[in-house]
């Protein structure tokens, strides 16, 4: 039980980093970015590229990678964000200028999703890849068995969330972003450079999702479809929490992560004791979906949303 909970927190960490980006884009740019998942995969593969470029400086104690991975994460975040800015320049910005609707922007992001996916497959092929050696899980008290790498995943997530929180609350541009999300017209009237706000939104949102991709790759493996598969839990986390809420996105992600792990475990036990032959782990992503439907039916504005 405790083990499943911890596994849920690990999955929730990865979803958190994706969900913060989706919620920022949905809040400030007013559309759901369907390319977010494929940007996540792209980040993971960019890190694979950079890890290959650097010499091996040995591994950190207990972990399956060393300092080169830290550099690779940072560079993957930067490159993926640069790609997102490029797409904003050539695609989303002109659409915004034309006053395209929320749905049009979402559709065009679907096109971007396929562009990223095709690039990944063209460059790296469709097979699964790994950053390095596979790591064995270790036993801890309370029946928890996790890989030491997974402490890194949770730690990095916590670190990045705190950095983003400080950025949004302490820096001038962060405050401008929050202002723009509250009321864009008012923000513009008070002299906030909205294009700069837009750029920073992309940089933060996409670099976080790239980091999520690398962490996901460290935990499991790299596959071109990884981002598309985790996109639904990411969206669900945002929808469950209500758009525009940073902490809500995090809590939503944890709820999704934990319930995916624990519910599949519990249901599997139940089906086993009833002698029903169902492989619940295959349905992990469906749990997120069912959860979303339940939440939306009872609280369409999300759990934390105010329903303005």
């Amino acid at each position: 039980m405790v083990d499943l909970f911890v596994n849920g927190i690990i999955l929730g960490s990865i979803i958190t980093l994706g969900a913060i980006g989706v919620t920022l884009i949905a809040d400030i740019l007013n559309f759901f970015n369907f390319a977010h998942g494929d940007m996540l995969s792209f980040g993971a593969y960019m890190a694979l590229f950079f890890v290959g470029v650097f010499p091996s400086w040995g591994n950190f104690p207990f972990l399956s990678f060393g300092p080169s991975m830290i550099l690779a994460i940072i560079l993957a975040m930067a490159v993926t964000a640069a790609f997102a800015l490029f797409f904003d320049k050539i695609l989303f910005k002109p659409l915004r200028k034309r006053g395209a609707s929320e749905l049009f922007l979402a559709l065009s992001s679907l096109g971007v999703a396929f562009i990223f996916r095709a690039i990944i497959r063209l460059v790296w092929g469709p097979q699964a890849k790994y950053y390095g050696g596979l790591q064995m899980a270790r036993r801890y008290p309370l029946g928890i068995t996790i890989k030491p790498d997974e402490f890194f995943i949770m730690g990095t997530t916590l670190f990045l969330v705190i950095v983003v929180y400080l950025f949004l609350t302490r820096t001038k541009i962060g405050k401008a972003m929050r202002a723009a999300s509250d009321n864009e017209t008012l923000a513009r009237v008070t002299g906030i450079d909205t294009e700069r706000v837009v750029n920073w939104t992309w940089i933060i949102a996409v670099s976080l999702t790239a980091a999520a991709g690398v962490l996901y790759g460290i935990q499991v493996q790299l596959r071109p479809i990884m981002g598309w598969n985790i996109l639904i839990p990411i969206f669900v986390a945002v929808v469950v929490a209500g758009v525009g809420d940073l902490w809500g996105a995090m809590v939503g992600a944890m709820i999704i992560g934990v319930s995916q792990e624990m519910l599949t475990g519990l249901l599997q036990d139940m089906f086993n004791s009833l002698n029903i032959d169902v492989l619940m782990t295959a349905y992990k992503p469906a749990i997120a979906f069912v959860l979303m439907i339940i939440v939306l039916l009872f609280r369409p504005q999300g759990i934390f949303g105010t329903g303005e």
Partner: protein
């Protein structure tokens, strides 16, 4: 060469049926269905299970005639849409799109994993092509093409009649301004539901047409690219809100898709294995280019004018 052309026409007609269904939902009702492929998928499986011979590997097959398969595909897709409408249609815009995407991935998981029902990833083989048994293989192709075109014409006529009827005007009013339509005493929930269910039924028919033509289906025949994205591309290229336009869009996009296969033959062998991904890239770029430079598509929204009034300007 000629058989290639016939096969192109059959597939393009099948996709046109799917595109008309999506155009009804998105173009005329404003439902951003990112899970349109689900109903295509479900229709294909429904018809396949109903018409193939008995097999120990999956439920059925029932060996029923083609027409039963077609009706079954329609019924099951419609039923699925009806059930899903209760949670999903309460959502608007992007939220609806997300829920449809989630539904489609969930259904893919079910088809992949429930081997007893669908034979899992191995798929279903030997789906009968109704005309092939009666006629020679060569003539059967032509007859099947005739069937596909007949279905396309029926669906086209029905949607045209639908959108030009009072029902269609309510649909239009709901898409443009739902609150206003409600205030005028129109039941927006009901027309959205009807459009969603009817569109999904048509999508199921398209799936059945595909399954009986190809003769083999598996979850990998219905990737998001081939079942959903390409249909979106077709209606955006042709012109959202124009039934003629989306049929042209379907024929053009499918032509480009097939045509790029010929081009691949001329490429060096190293790239050939990756050709599918190049096409995926081109499709993604094409979609964004259309949205950027010609958002109304080739044809643009047709002004739907009733016989009585002069129609609204916008």
């Amino acid at each position: 060469m000629l058989s290639y052309f016939v096969s192109y026409l059959v597939m393009a007609s099948t996709y046109s049926v799917a595109a008309l269904a999506l155009n009804l939902q998105w173009g005329f009702t404003g439902l951003m269905n990112f899970g349109i492929g689900t109903f295509y998928f479900v229709g294909a499986y429904a018809s396949a299970l109903l018409t193939t011979g008995a097999s120990p590997d999956y439920v059925g097959g029932f060996g029923l005639p083609f027409i039963v398969g077609l009706i079954g595909a329609m019924a099951i897709s419609g039923l699925l849409a009806y059930v899903l409408a209760y949670p999903a249609l309460k959502l608007r815009g992007g939220f609806f799109a997300i829920s449809m995407l989630a539904i489609s991935e969930t259904i893919r998981l079910i088809v992949k994993n429930e081997k007893w029902l669908t034979n899992g990833v191995w798929g279903i083989r030997g789906i009968p092509q109704p005309t092939r048994a009666l006629l020679g293989a060569n003539l059967a192709e032509w007859v099947y093409l005739g069937l596909a075109i007949a279905i396309l014409i029926i669906v086209y006529r029905l949607t045209e009649i639908g959108i030009r009827s009072p029902w269609g005007r309510v649909l239009n009013a709901v898409r443009e301004d739902e609150k206003m339509a409600e205030m005028s005493g129109k039941n927006s929930w009901r027309v959205r539901m009807q459009s969603f269910v009817f569109g999904s039924m048509v999508m199921g028919v398209a799936g059945a047409l595909y399954a009986h033509y190809i003769g083999f289906i598996s979850p990998s025949s219905f990737t998001p690219l081939m079942a959903t994205f390409i249909v979106w591309l077709m209606i955006l290229l042709g012109g959202t809100g124009s039934n003629k336009g989306v049929i042209v869009g379907a024929f053009v996009v499918w032509g480009v898709w097939i045509g790029s296969e010929f081009l691949i033959d001329f490429l060096p062998s190293g790239i050939t294995s990756k050709a599918g991904f190049v096409r995926m890239l081109l499709m993604g770029i094409l979609l964004d280019v259309i949205l950027l430079i010609r958002p109304q598509g080739l044809f643009g929204r047709e002004k739907v004018i009733s016989k009585l009034g002069s129609g609204s300007e916008n």
